[in-house]
């Protein structure tokens, strides 16, 4: 099959992209291969990879979450029994991972919208990525201690 510009990179080309990024980083004397591209190498590519991975994770959680919530129609006892599983320490840590995934996906999604609709969005895509990371850390700094208190704290 001939290579097409509108196709997303395959696993092979993705790995090649990573290798190429690293090799140009190791040899700064060489001309930059990745310069001027939005979706290959560095911030543009990694935000794209993370957006896909977090998106898939959130989708599968959503499927389970609609089903567990539907148990309210079975009986209050059935709902309470299953939702009790969400309150264990391990699931409590899982909820931190979930909120981290949702937080990144949401913030990076807003970054994508800025890149698409704001005239200077594409130009500032890298600072926008690091803005996403900073806001994401702030978000988790607010949530994680609170969640740890809820799942490990007394009362």
């Amino acid at each position: 099959m001939p290579p097409r510009a509108d196709r997303a990179p395959s696993a092979v080309s993705l790995i090649w992209g990573i290798v190429a990024t690293q090799s140009t980083a190791a040899a700064p004397a060489q001309p930059k291969r990745m310069g001027g591209t939005l979706y290959r190498g560095r911030e543009g590519m990694w935000s794209w990879v993370l957006h896909r991975i977090t998106g898939v994770a959130i989708f599968f959680f959503l499927l389970v979450h609609v089903l567990d919530t539907a148990l309210v129609k079975v009986s209050p006892e059935a709902y309470d029994a299953v939702i009790g599983a969400y309150k264990t320490p391990i699931m409590g840590l899982g909820e931190i991972a979930l909120v981290a995934a949702i937080g990144f996906h949401a913030l990076n999604g807003l970054r994508i919208i800025l890149i698409d609709f704001w005239a200077k969005g594409a130009k500032y895509q890298k600072p926008l990525f690091w803005t996403v990371i900073v806001l994401w850390i702030v978000l988790l700094a607010g949530f994680v201690p609170r969640q740890l208190m809820h799942i490990f704290g007394g009362a």
């Binding site: 099959m1 395959s10 998106g55 309210v72 009986s75 309150k87 999604g109 807003l110």
Partner: protein, 158 residues
Amino acid sequence: MAQQSIGSVLVPAPGTKYERYARRPRRFNLEKWAWIYMRASGVLLAVLIFGHLFVNLVSGEGVKQIDFAFVAGKWADPFWIVWDVLLLWLALIHGANGMRTLVNDYATRPALRRVLLGLIALATVALLVLGTLVLTTFDPCLGATAETAAAIPQCAIK
């Protein structure tokens, strides 16, 4: 070869003496509307989900407070029913379209692609129907005892 799909048509390639294959113009461009939907729903979902997470996981006792009575307390108020119906529809369709994009990118075997796209559609429709029925037929007074019913105005009348 790959470009020559059924919906394609030869058009002049600007700036060259050659022709290229382009999609035949259609009345309804699914990909365009899917692209717009992802961005429009994304903005709304950012608000709806952060609100959902704050009320359920941050405020009060966080995840420890969630039980039938907590859900009944929320869904006794139409505000949260509307909030959660919006969340259900916007998020599931947003997620399903995202999964469709991934399947189209990575599942190159046509038979496998059809199966995966079918499964996504099936799961999405089933959960939209189930979730909507749950939200619109929920009875917050179910299983309410004398003291828990006091917290929900419409249950106290019974």
